[in-house]
Every structure is written in C-alpha cells, then in structure tokens.
C-alpha cells in the first residue's frame, strides 16, 4: 500500500506543477491549453541546462525559463494580439514538440543522434521526519522537486487569497474592466500571469526529465499537460483542489500498472485508459457546477 501511494505521489508531481501554473493563467483569464508545450520545453531545457553547465540548479532554472519562453509566445499572441486561447495553446504544444526535436538535432550536429544521460536528482530524506514509520517513507523521502511542488501549493494558495498581487490577478480573470478602473493594467497582469504559468509548468517538465528519468526524449511529456489541465478544472482552480485531483490521477495510473499484475482477463489497452476515463467521468459529474473565471478567454 505504501508503495502504491508513493507511486501515486511520484506520478502526480509533474502534474501538480503544471496544474499550479495553469491556475495562474486561468485565474488571470487565459485558458492554459499550452501546458503540454510549456512542460515539454521545460523538460528539454532542464536536461540540456544541467548537461551544459554541470549544475542541477542551473538545469532547474533553465526548465523554468524554457516553460516561460513557450508561455511568452502564448502571452503575446493571446493577450497582446487577442488571438483565440484554445488554438494558440494547441499550436504552441505542436510547436514545442517540433522545436525540442529540432534543438536536439542541432546539438547532435552531423555526428548522429545525441544521447544525454544524467543521474536523476537524488532523494532528499528530511532528517528526523523520514525515520517515522510509514509516514516518513511516504511523505518525507522524496527528491527535491517533490517538496517544491508542495511548497508551490502553499505559496500559490497564499498569494491568490492573501496578497494584493494575487487578488488583482483573480480580479483580472473575473472583471478586467474593474481592475483597469482601479488603476492597474489588466493586460500586463495577464501577460505576467501566463509567463509565470510557463515557468511553473516548465518545472513540471523538469520533474519528468531531470528527476525521474535523467534524459530527454521526443515528446516525453506524453500528454501529461492535458491531464494537468483536467486536474485544475476538477480542482476548481484552487491549488489544493488541483493537487488533490493530480493525486487521484496519479493513483489511477499507479493502480492501472498494478491491476495488470493481477492478471485480470482484460486487454491492457482497456486498463491503460483508466486515468483518462476517470478524468472524463469526474469532469462529466462536475459538469457546469464549477464557476469558470467570468472573463476567461475574453480578449481585452
């Protein structure tokens, strides 16, 4: 059971980062459809940054920068040029896939495919707490970015509800005219929110490439950005709600892998659908009960 829950946490960690980023963007009024592309660029930048500098910290910073660059493109096109959020996000997702592949090719030059293998980020058990039976293994024996995801939840929940910047950001997603009337610049707030979204989602990419695997491969985010998008909707644009939804999806995937081990006479293809079927089911159950930010997707 501990192993199962630990797996759920591991699988959920990249989703949590992406969902937190998505909350920043959507609460400011821009649909976060481009999370997948932001994660992918972050995953690429994390590995190349670490490989190039020899510093994992530099790799993590590069991941945030990579995600932010993808987000900057979305911010300019959707906020400055008022383009459709959905189409722009999907375009950036496709662009990121091609761009990361192309950048790997530039690195390889004419000497064939480049192969980068790094040691994944090490475990950082919390002294003392990690010794507690069961809870210690489950909650206090993780690599660094897992703790950062929890810190991210705490910070974002605080910023959105307890700081002027957070309240202004939420107000921009609800009523940008009122924000303007109050003397703030809703366009600037949206731009910054989307770029911050990219930075945080980029860290989600770093979890996959730098913390879990130690290499970058084409399209390695594998649709996790979309699952994160579903999570933030299920979590009602609340950091803790979204994190809980990510954990549910993580548990579903961990369960799916274990379900196969039991040898139930069902095709693995059916079992593999579990996380997505759960996402669809929950979204259908919630329906329109959740209240979207009132001005989301509406150009300024």
């Amino acid at each position: 059971m501990i192993d199962f829950l630990a797996a759920a946490i591991r699988i959920a960690t990249p989703l949590i980062f992406a969902a937190l980023g998505g909350i920043l963007s959507e609460r400011a009024g821009v649909f976060a459809v481009g999370l997948e592309g932001m994660m992918l660029l972050g995953a690429w930048a994390a590995v190349i940054g670490t490989w190039g500098t020899g510093s994992e910290m530099a790799g993590i910073a590069a991941a945030a920068a990579g995600g932010a660059i993808a987000a900057l493109a979305i911010a300019i096109v959707t906020v400055r040029y008022r383009a459709d959020n959905m189409v722009t996000g999907l375009t950036v997702n496709i662009l990121a896939l091609g761009l990361t592949t192309y950048l790997m090719r530039i690195l390889s030059g004419s000497n064939g495919p480049v192969s980068v293998h790094l040691d994944p980020l090490p475990m950082m058990p919390v002294p003392g707490l990690s010794q507690i039976p069961v809870v210690g293994t489950l909650l206090f024996s993780h690599p660094p970015l897992t703790y950062l995801a929890v810190i991210g939840c705490v910070l974002l929940a605080f910023v959105l509800t307890r700081t002027q910047a957070g309240l202004l950001l939420c107000a921009t997603g609800e009523n940008p005219e009122a924000v303007f009337a109050a003397g703030a610049d809703p366009m600037r707030i949206r731009m910054l929110a989307v770029i911050a979204c990219g930075g945080v989602a980029g860290l989600g990419g770093a979890v996959i490439s730098l913390q879990q695997v130690g290499t970058f491969t084409d399209g390695m985010t594998g649709g996790r950005g979309y699952l994160a998008l579903a999570s933030l909707i299920v979590g009602r644009w609340n950091p803790w709600g979204a994190a809980a939804a990510c954990l549910v999806f993580g548990a579903a995937e961990a369960f799916e892998l274990r379900l196969q081990s039991y040898g139930i006479p069902v095709s693995s293809y059916i079992v593999q659908m579990a996380p997505y079927l759960i996402a669809l089911g929950v979204l259908a159950l919630l329906g329109r009960t959740g209240k979207l930010p009132a001005a989301i997707g509406k150009p300024l």
């Binding site: 699988i11 293998h117 695997v213 491969t217 084409d218 995937e253 892998l257 081990s261 040898g263 693995s268």
Partner: protein
C-alpha cells in the same frame, strides 16, 4: 525593349542550363541505386527512429545513395511510399510493420521497386517484403538468463503494443522459457513505448512485488526501465550499449538488433535484380546472419554479474535453436499481461 530581349535571352540560357543540369543529375542518380526509408518519428529520437536512420545510412557502403523522410503520419504512408517509388528509388523501406498495407497498395504500380517493412511480419508477392529477427528465440534466451539470475525466483518484462506479433513473440518467449527454468513471470504493458517515466513506474511496481530481474522491449522508454533497476539495484537486460552505460553492474546483457546485416543482405540481392515478396525472419537457425545477438559490450555477450555456468546454459540454448532441436512459437496467451 532591349532590356526585355536581354531578359528573354537570359531566361532561355537559364532554362537550357536548368534542363541540362536536371539531365546530368538525374542521369548520375540513375547510375547509382537509391534507397529511402520512411520513419514514423524523428530521426534523432535516440530510439527506434534513430535506428531506422542508421539502417538506411548503412546501405551507402552497399552502393546506394540514401534519403529519408521523418514523422510520416499513418494517413500519409501510401503517398510517401509512392513518392519515393515514383522518383526511381529501387528500395523503399518503411520503419515499422504498419507500412505493409501502404506498400501492398502501392507496389503493383512499381514492379521493379523493392518495398521492405522493417520489423513487419508479412510480405506480398512479388516485391513487398518484411524483415525481422526471431524475437521468440531471443526472448526465450533472456527468460532463461533472468530465471537463472533471480534470487527471488520472480522476474518481470515490460512491453508496449500488446498483440503486435514481434512483441507477442518476445514477451511470450520470455515467459515460456523463464517459467520453464522455474521463475514466476509477470508481464506489464505500458501505453507508450517512448514514455520513460511510465516504464520506470511499471518497473518499480514489479520490483515492489519481488521481481529482481527485469527485461523489456521498449523504445525510448527502455532508459526508464534501466534507471529503475539502477535505483533499486536489481538486474536488467537492455536493447543497446547505452543501457549498459547507465547501469554497468546491473545490466546482464542486451538484445542488440543487427538491422544493417538483415537489410544489407536483401539490398545486395535487389541490386542484382532479385525481388522479394515474403516475410524473412532471421535467427540462430538462419546461418551467419542471426538478426540479433546478446551483447553486453562490443566484445562481451554478458555483464560481470553473469556466472560462467549461466552464460554457458544461455549459449547452449542458442546452439539448440541453431541446430533446430529447440523451436518456440509463443502464443498471445504466453504474452498475456499479469502473472
């Protein structure tokens, strides 16, 4: 007016030069045979498609000029195959068994072109060929190796694309031979053979259930499988020397596929005018070209952990396959997910 005439003269000269150039270049191209490969993904994916790129490049020493197309979508396969055949390529390779149907569709219009589906499992007379290695034989060898190296007598295999013939052959071969050697086998299928993070989680779940030797037939995801083995200190088999480099103490061996030999052998015969319309499967029983081999490094079949007695038994199995005294045809039931 004068300017216009001059321009016309220049244009005519350019046209003549262009026509001559095309003539010269196409003439020289016809003098040398051409081979092209269609890749379902990117040529530098460090994985299956990179292997495809290496295959077509390996035909250059055989006297072929080569070309490749990347990210060929399912819907574009027939058009891409037709395009190369129409340009006079004598060999058009598709880097997956799924190209067979597109090739069957196009081949009647290009009877002098050899179409080859890499890792396919069916051919069509007279000029659509599939080539693969005998996955069952190598899966079986790895099954024996895993069972003999396991202390818990629990071993696991992680694969993708359940039901695809070469996966069924390797996963089924692994189960049959590992069970015969006394191990309890669990097989898991992940949804994406490129998803290293998911492969790592699948490996963790098996290790948590007691498996201490793992194998798999994955693409980019193979790195996740080996990484999991490294973190949990269990034995693993890979698909290339990259995996040996990740965990040199724990990698027992790799099933290293020798596509240049398999395709090169056919290419040489195509160059002499022969065409193939069958599924050609290489293995220990096909002479010098076995299609794959167990290699830990360029000059060693097994890693340092494998004892001489175990190595001898695994190699004896290869000899039995070669002599025909041992044959294996795994079923989908053998390759089922679970225990």
């Amino acid at each position: 007016m004068m300017t216009l005439h001059r321009r016309r003269r220049h244009l005519s000269a350019a046209t003549v030069f262009a026509v001559l150039s095309v003539g010269i270049f196409s003439g020289s191209a016809q003098a040398q045979d051409k081979a092209a490969i269609l890749l379902p993904g990117s040529a530098n994916d460090q994985s299956w498609n990179a292997l495809g790129y290496a295959i077509v490049k390996s035909l250059e020493p055989h006297g072929f000029t080569t070309a490749y197309s990347e990210n060929v979508a399912d819907a574009d396969e027939a058009e891409a195959v037709r395009d190369y055949a129409g340009q006079g390529y004598s060999i058009v390779l598709g880097h997956s068994g799924r190209f067979v149907s597109a090739m069957q569709q196009v081949a009647p219009d290009f009877p002098k072109t050899q179409f080859i589906a890499v890792s396919g499992n069916e051919g069509a007379e007279p000029n659509v060929m599939s080539v693969d290695y005998n996955n069952a034989q190598f899966g079986c060898q790895v099954g024996l190796l895993a069972a003999r190296m396991s202390k818990t007598h629990k071993v696991g295999g992680i694969y993708g694309l359940q039901g695809v013939p070469n996966i069924t052959a390797q996963a089924g071969g692994f189960r049959v031979c590992a069970e015969k050697a006394g191990a309890q086998v669990t097989i898991l299928y992940i949804k994406d053979m490129e998803d290293a993070a998911q492969a790592k989680e699948a490996a963790f779940s098996m290790i948590a259930n007691g498996a201490d030797v793992l194998t798999g037939k994955l693409n980019a995801a193979e790195a996740g499988l080996v990484q999991a083995a490294k973190e949990k200190q269990v034995y693993v088999t890979g698909r290339g020397f990259d995996q040996t480099a990740i965990a040199p103490d724990l990698v027992l061996t790799n099933i290293v596929e020798d596509w240049p030999s398999m395709i090169g052998s056919a290419a040489d015969q195509v160059k002499q005018g022969k065409l193939f319309g069958t599924f050609v499967q290489y293995g220990y029983d096909t002479g010098k070209t076995t299609g794959a081999s167990l290699k830990y490094s360029a000059d060693k079949p097994f890693g340092p952990a494998v004892t001489q007695a175990v190595a001898k038994d695994v190699e004896a199995m290869a000899a039995d396959f070669a002599s025909g005294t041992l044959k294996i045809v795994p079923t989908e039931q053998d390759a089922r997910s679970g225990s």
